[in-house]
């Protein structure tokens, strides 16, 4: 696929042309005709003024298209006029259309006499006085300037230090043929269009070409219909030209209906004469004397601009009878439609113009043979027609020089959705979607990842992120299973649920289907019903409804393919596409909805309930305790937390808070609620005695359960089993409990006394804890289930084995320490193994922990972390990386170790190689690619290897393991391959978060209970919705305005650098209540006052 050549890149706008002599001669009225007659000087002066090559007084241009007006351009205009009037500044104010950068609207351009035109973004009325003050005074406010217009003739003085607008990242890759005048000229003045070469192509065509030649030229250019289908325009014309009929019609289809697509509107509003000229050329070519513009009534501004343009063109002799004296006549009428999506389908559109209900009819016969009022008719879309002046003026070869083998020219796209810059872009065909999203659109805001791009609106399909290198080419897109469509391009990020997204389109189709043919009407309804069943909870999840849901996926595909094969019109034939393509690329999301009753993106409200609760692996009712905090009911808050988590204060300190990532306050433009900080506030304030579990006494001689490993997973399982009345024995290898919480997490993050207290309280009456008992050393699984008499075993031995780097020199050198060993030696036994210059290899939490612990050890001079990707790809928690960085730990990225260098049996240094990021791998992360010859050595005294951890396999023999040593369990029941043996936590998942381990322990306890009681080892997925109503607290007015997230106070760097005092501190009550009141209370959607 050809990339845009550099020359074109530097010049996204086509060169301005002068009106041709041919045109000038033929004009029957208007300013140019008058100037023509008044002589060359007058003519040249007029032209220069119209082309803004010369302005006598300041000109202020305001983007006043529908997008601009929506952003407040009307008030901006008013403010500009007021400012000018108050200061008695003589300036011209011009309303222009849309330049395409809609996210920067309202856009205001200012051109001072003799200077180039400047463009500014986001000029709401309140910013007007400041802007005008500065610019009129000759200074440019740098933070809001978008750029200055290029001045190819070099007549004007450019502004210093202001980038050129055509080099703006949004513009640089564009090639503006259709949009060449958009947002630049005054659409209300035909003079400006003509002065820039408008209507010259028409004049030339009428004067010197036969209609057949025009058809040939257009066919040779390779122009294809821009409305969606991509039918070769020249060929369509020839069919109509050859069809017999006393009257032929040309229809411009401006019934743009795709959600999020508005390029036709922009052309009609910003450059209406380009469309009229295109229509005149097309009508001449096919032999039509009447033309219609079919446009939806929802586009009042576009209709107004077109009306005005038609009037002006008639007055100048460019429409009506005998155009330019060449004997060809064309009348154009505007027909407004009620805005039905199906009326974009050509036969339905024809019915609508004929005054009937917009319903399609079967083709053949095609409109080119029998169309409007039974006569041969050509229907072209706005963008198609707007391409014609360029093609006829510069020739087929010029046009065919842009684009790909089968798709010529440019295409206008409307970018919307989760992307930084939204708006209209015109790019050469063949530009990849990745370029459009990331280079032009600026990528995804908020640090989220791009998930997919929906192209082609409701008729199109989605392209997953991994395939964004797909070129914008009719055939390539079709082969991929989507369509070019009219150019709607919606960017989706991780917060979009693909099932919900497909459902949106199905709802759209259901409300827009004309209802005529059965597959489209009934089939899409059925599809919608299935999607609704998938995304909604049912009273009973195991009844026939569930069966219906399970059939869903199979039936969706079958139905979709039938609808595609049998529907009457294009709307129906393409209606299943959004479902089929999301099903193809995101089947896992469908399955999560169906089998797990979960929406991974957190978007399907009815499944998710409160997103915070849904996101918590342990199912904590986050919304509920936050609501209690807001009301000052801290004890209730504590109970809610404790109900779900046996480790409240641990979680209040070290939880990676997935709840905050899904918090709706954060996904709707603001910042998420600081949930962990609030939890910390509660656990620090409320006595743990507030919650006393009711423990059922263990029956003498009742079933006994063994738990191996006293980490968070093991202790949680033991706790819940103990409470349920089982006699539990916990075997711990170390001489203290806590697992990784004690061994790996440094004390500055989690105070040891807190941890000990928490564990002590968990050890309820039925639990016995035995220390220094290691599986495989002191006892075996056979012992537990045999002579020792346990009915079931829960393995939670964790992942304590640091992986090796696999580079030469790694083994046997003094000073090279596995990460976990390093942490445990310090955390459990107080031994400081690091000294001098310390290097840590790895990018996960244990690497950062090791680095920060090392930094605190007495003999250490400096610490550096080496990671092979960039910081963005580091798996460690963001705040940990930030803290490490603050503490002066060097973080060196894009380096990979290649050799450990030793001297005399002791570590001397580490040889690294620099990397760059290559293609994405299966995990979606971009792979580091070593750069040959970039090897270099850093001198080290201590090297801590903390790449990753895996379980130690001692004592696991007989169980099914993965290659990395983790245990294979049934995810639903935690059961291993050996009956009676269950497992959870890091030994199953590899290194994972505390809250996931707690969740595994809870699930295992439930399943072991099931196992021992002889029940099925299954739990039906259940939708957990908020069920308790808590009266909300009204926020006062002042508060409602300012809603900044509370940040916990941190110990200053100087006070924490060489000690293990807790870094994160607690917030005040006032802060806590204020933060809690920020909560959007998603739960209220599901609860009722009693």
């Amino acid at each position: 696929m050809s990339k845009p050549d550099t020359a074109a890149q530097a010049r996204c706008w086509e060169k301005m042309r002068r009106p041709s002599p041919e045109l000038l001669r033929g004009l029957r009225g208007g300013a140019l005709a008058a100037a023509r007659d008044a002589g060359p000087d007058r003519y040249d002066a007029l032209l220069a003024g119209l082309r803004r090559e010369r302005v006598d007084r300041p000109v202020v241009f305001v983007g006043a298209g529908t997008c601009g007006l929506g952003a407040g351009a009307a008030r901006t205009l008013e403010a500009i006029r007021r400012w000018l009037a108050e200061r008695a500044v003589s300036a011209e104010v011009v309303e222009v259309g849309c330049i395409g950068l809609c996210s920067e609207e309202p856009i205001v351009d200012i051109q001072l006499p003799g200077r180039t035109r400047l463009s500014f973004g986001g000029i709401t009325a309140d910013r007007v006085p400041d802007l005008l003050e500065q610019v009129m005074g000759g200074t440019v406010p740098a933070e809001i300037v978008l750029g200055q217009f290029p001045d190819p003739q070099g007549l004007l003085q450019p502004w210093d230090d202001v980038a050129r607008l055509d080099e703006h990242p949004f513009m640089a890759r564009q090639r503006r043929v259709v949009l060449v005048n958009s947002g630049i000229i005054d659409p209300g003045r035909i003079e400006e269009y003509v002065a820039r070469g408008g209507y010259s192509a028409l004049a030339e065509v009428l004067a010197s070409r036969t209609p057949e030649q025009v058809c040939d030229e257009v066919e040779a250019s390779g122009l294809r219909g821009r409305g969606g289908g991509g039918f070769p325009t020249g060929r369509k014309w020839k069919f109509a030209r050859q069809a017999s009929g006393d009257q032929k019609y040309l229809i411009c289809n401006a019934d743009e209906g795709d959600p999020g697509a508005f390029m036709d509107r922009a052309v009609c509003e910003s450059d209406p004469h380009r469309l009229l000229e295109g229509m005149a050329i097309a009508a001449y070519a096919i032999g039509a004397s009447r033309g219609y513009i079919y446009i939806r009534a929802e586009y009042p501004l576009a209709i107004e601009r077109l009306r005005q343009a038609i009037e002006q063109a008639r007055a100048w002799g460019l429409l009506g009878a005998d155009i330019l004296g060449r004997g060809f006549g064309l009348e154009i009428a505007i027909k407004t439609g009620a805005g039905a999506f199906v009326c974009g389908e050509e036969t339905a559109l024809i019915h609508s113009i004929e005054g009937r209900r917009g319903m399609p009819r079967p083709r053949p016969p095609f409109p080119a043979a029998r169309g409007l009022f039974g006569r041969p008719t050509v229907i072209n879309n706005v963008e198609t027609l707007a391409n014609l002046p360029g093609i006829l003026e510069r020739g087929a070869a010029w046009f065919a020089g842009m684009g790909t083998a089968g798709s010529k020219g440019t295409k206008v796209f409307a970018i919307s959705g989760m992307v930084r810059r939204t708006g209209l872009v015109e790019i050469p065909m063949g530009t990849t979607l990745r370029e459009v999203v990331f280079d032009i659109g600026g990528g995804i805001p908020g640090g989220r990842r791009c998930k997919a791009v929906q192209i082609g609106g409701p008729s199109g399909g989605c392209v997953p992120e991994s395939h964004l290198d797909l070129p914008t080419d009719y055939e390539a897109l079709k082969a991929f299973g989507t369509i070019m469509g009219s150019g709607g391009l919606v960017v989706l990020d991780e917060s979009t649920c693909m099932v919900d997204f497909a459902k949106f389109f199905m709802e759209f189709i259901q409300s827009e289907s004309c209802g005529k043919c059965i597959p489209c009407r009934e089939g899409t309804r059925r599809m919608l019903e299935i999607l609704q069943a998938i995304t909604r909870p049912r009273r009973r999840e195991d009844g026939p409804d569930a069966l219906e849901r399970f059939q869903g996926i199979m039936q969706l595909r079958e139905l979709g393919e039938m609808i595609r094969a049998t529907s009457l019109c294009g709307l129906g034939q393409t209606a299943p596409n959004p479902v089929l393509s999301t099903l193809q690329w995101f089947r896992d999301e469908y399955e999560a909805h169906i089998y797990d009753r979960d929406c991974p993106a957190g978007a399907c409200k009815e499944l998710v309930g409160a997103p915070c609760q849904n996101a918590c692996p342990a199912g904590t009712e986050v919304w509920r305790y936050v609501a209690h905090i807001a009301r000052g009911e801290y004890q209730e808050a504590y109970r809610v937390i404790r109900e779900a988590l046996p480790f409240p204060s641990v979680c209040a300190r070290v939880c990676h808070h997935p709840c905050e990532r899904m918090c709706r306050a954060g996904s709707t433009g603001g910042e998420p609620i600081a949930v962990r900080t609030l939890k910390r506030f509660v656990v620090d304030r409320v006595s743990p005695n507030t919650y006393a579990p009711e423990v059922r006494p263990a029956a003498p001689g009742g079933p006994r359960i063994a738990v191996v490993g006293a980490g968070p997973a093991g202790l949680t399982a033991a706790y819940y089993l103990g409470v349920a009345g089982y006699a539990v024995t916990v075997f711990e290898r170390e001489d203290q409990a806590g697992g990784m919480l004690a061994g790996a997490i440094p004390e500055y993050r989690l105070s040891r006394s807190q941890l000990r207290h928490e564990i002590d309280r968990m050890l309820v009456a039925n639990i016995e804890l035995r220390y220094s008992q290691a599986l495989g050393r002191d006892f075996s699984l056979d012992d537990l289930l045999g002579p020792m008499g346990y009915r079931a075993v829960f393995l939670a031995t964790g992942a304590h084995h640091s992986r090796r780097m696999g580079v030469p020199g790694e083994d046997g050198l003094e000073g090279v320490i596995p990460g976990i060993r390093f942490l445990k030696e310090y955390n459990l036994h107080g031994r400081e193994l690091a000294r001098g210059r310390v290097g840590v290899v790895g990018g996960g939490n244990s690497a950062i922990d090791a680095a920060r612990v090392a930094l605190r050890q007495k003999r250490v001079d400096s610490v550096a972390v080496y990671y092979r990707r960039t910081q963005a790809e580091m798996p460690a928690y963001r705040e940990e990386i930030d803290a490490a960085w603050e503490e002066n730990i060097a973080i060196r990225t894009l380096v990979a170790p290649v050799e450990v260098i030793g001297r005399d049996g002791r570590l001397a240094g580490l040889k690294l190689i620099s990397c760059r990021l290559g293609e994405a791998d299966a995990s979606g992360r971009r792979q580091p690619v070593p750069i040959p010859g970039s090897e270099h050595v850093v001198e080290l005294d201590t090297l801590i290897v903390a790449i990753s951890e895996q379980p130690e396999v001692d004592g696991l023999s007989g169980l099914t393991l993965r290659r990395n040593g983790t245990l294979v369990v049934d995810p639903e029941s935690c059961a291993t391959s050996r009956p009676g043996v269950f497992a959870g936590g890091d030994v199953v998942t590899g290194p994972n978060s505390v809250v996931d381990a707690i969740a595994a322990g809870k699930r295992a306890a439930r399943m072991i209970d099931n196992y021992v009681s002889g029940r099925l080892l299954r739990s039906l997925p259940k939708v957990r919705l908020p069920g308790v109503y808590i009266e909300p607290v009204q926020a006062d007015e002042e508060e409602a305005g300012s809603a900044a997230r509370v940040e916990p106070p941190l110990l200053t760097v100087s006070r924490r650098r060489k000690n293990f005092a807790e870094v994160e501190l607690c917030i005040s009550e006032e802060q806590a209540r204020r933060e809690a009141r920020r909560c959007l209370r998603c739960d209220l959607e599901f609860t009722q006052p009693a």
């Binding site: 209900r357 009819r361 079967p362 005529k516 043919c517 039938m562 009457l568 034939q573």
Partner: protein, 577 residues
Amino acid sequence: MMSDVMRIEVDGREVEARAGETILEVLRREAVHVPTLCHIEGLPPSGACRMCIVELEGAPTLVPSCSYPVAAGMKIRSRSPKVLAARRMIVELLLSSHPDDCLYCGRSGRCDLQTLARDLGVRHRRSRPRGERRERDVSSPSIVRDPDKCVLCGKCVRVCEEVQGVAAIDFVGRGARTQVGCAFESGLNVSSCVNCGQCILVCPTGALSERSCVDEVLEALADPDKVVVVQHAPAVSVTLAEEFGLPPGQDVDGRMVAALRRAGFDRVFDTSFTADLTIMEEGSELAHRIRSGGVLPMLTSCSPGWIKFVEQFYPDFIPNVSTCKSPQQMMGAIIKRFWAQREQVRPQDVVSVSIMPCTAKKFECGREEMGCDHVPDVDYVLTTRELGELLRMHGLDLSRLEPEAADTPFGERTSAGKLFGASGGVMEAAVRTAHWMLTGRELQELEIGPLRGLEGCKELHARIDGLQIGAAVVSGLGNARRLLDQVRGGRKDLHFIEVMTCPGGCVGGGGQPIGADAAAVEARMKALYAIDRDAPVRVSHRNASVKRLYDEFLGEPLGEISHRLLHTHYHRRDVLK
């Protein structure tokens, strides 16, 4: 260039096709059964139901055979697994939003959807209809609409607009909420619906049906205090047989009379009698208009759908419409005002029932003009279909009954009156009598070829006794529209125009048995012609009972009593159009 005849391949077999034909036409000729729900012979294809899809080699989708033109060398698979799977799924989709009440549905056994589900072997469906029922429209005296049973094939909409030129109904709403309805979602009764019932005939399901009076009639029959008198229209005796599974075109006149008596009707009269009477009155009116320079052309008034049509769409033609009541209403008036008096029964104790091929008659008998002192001349109208139902309910098997004669005096008819049942029949009977009235001589050749047959528009230009007479016959209101527009446009050569609402006349009426195609309607028509051919008395003015009625009661045509009982006037009607 393409030759007219070409060869195409159908299911691996070469067959002949002609340019301009659709795939469906070829397949049907080749006896390949292709199911359709929305196809109407003679109208442009709509392509809505997708049942007729076939696989066309090289086409990206399945193509609808009803609209797809043949091309030389095309290869078609009409029953490939893909095609069958699609058809079955379409039926399943329809069923998934269809109420489960076949057992209680009037169309059970004659329902296209039922047949398709059976024939295509649809034995289960994966989703059930979701509760919400839509209200039935029972506002019309003639037609009941049940949107829940509608499959939106659009045939009713097209017949109403394209055949009848009425366009009372159209699609309303979008997507799955689309339904067929009147403007502003009003009831049929306030729409421009002319009650012709052609929509019922084309409806593949029970979504459209006549407003049934069977229960009311049963009640009257069971009431010992009521004298129940029944009249039957000329076109009923040649179609009723179809209700009993016999082929179209059989006349069961005498057996029907016997059956009606067994069912409990006290008197059985023949509406053809008043058809003869109508000829006397209408013929006299026409002669009077011609002689006295009255408003011409005169338009017939027997067809109540047509009357409402004129009132709504062509009120300027109301003066042209004959003032004669329709034969049904004439019979009704005579029964209640003359026969009852003679039999010494109070008119309110007489229940006057008529058996009509027509749903608009149900509307007509309730018109204000059609009664006296709030006692309607006709109480209940049963369609041919309802009569079939009533007789089946009584266990009366037509084929096993001995024919009986209708009651005197109004059971006597001529075959001219019987001809009223076919389009052109009124005109033919009128011409026979007009010739006699104008010349005093009987017409030599009674059968008038140009006025016979299924064509929608027939004309006759003849010279009778020096007078150049122009007559036109139209059936189907779309044809009436075109003719009236010509007259509005200044056409002067016509004196008398017969208009029948339904294509083919009453033999194609909206109350006739379901499932008749053009050939069946033609067979019904031919049965009437056969009756005429074999009849002893073939002109209305020779009906002895009619003459006696004039002698004993009416006096003379257009006389004072006639005027009071047999004539009426119509008025402009404003409806939503």
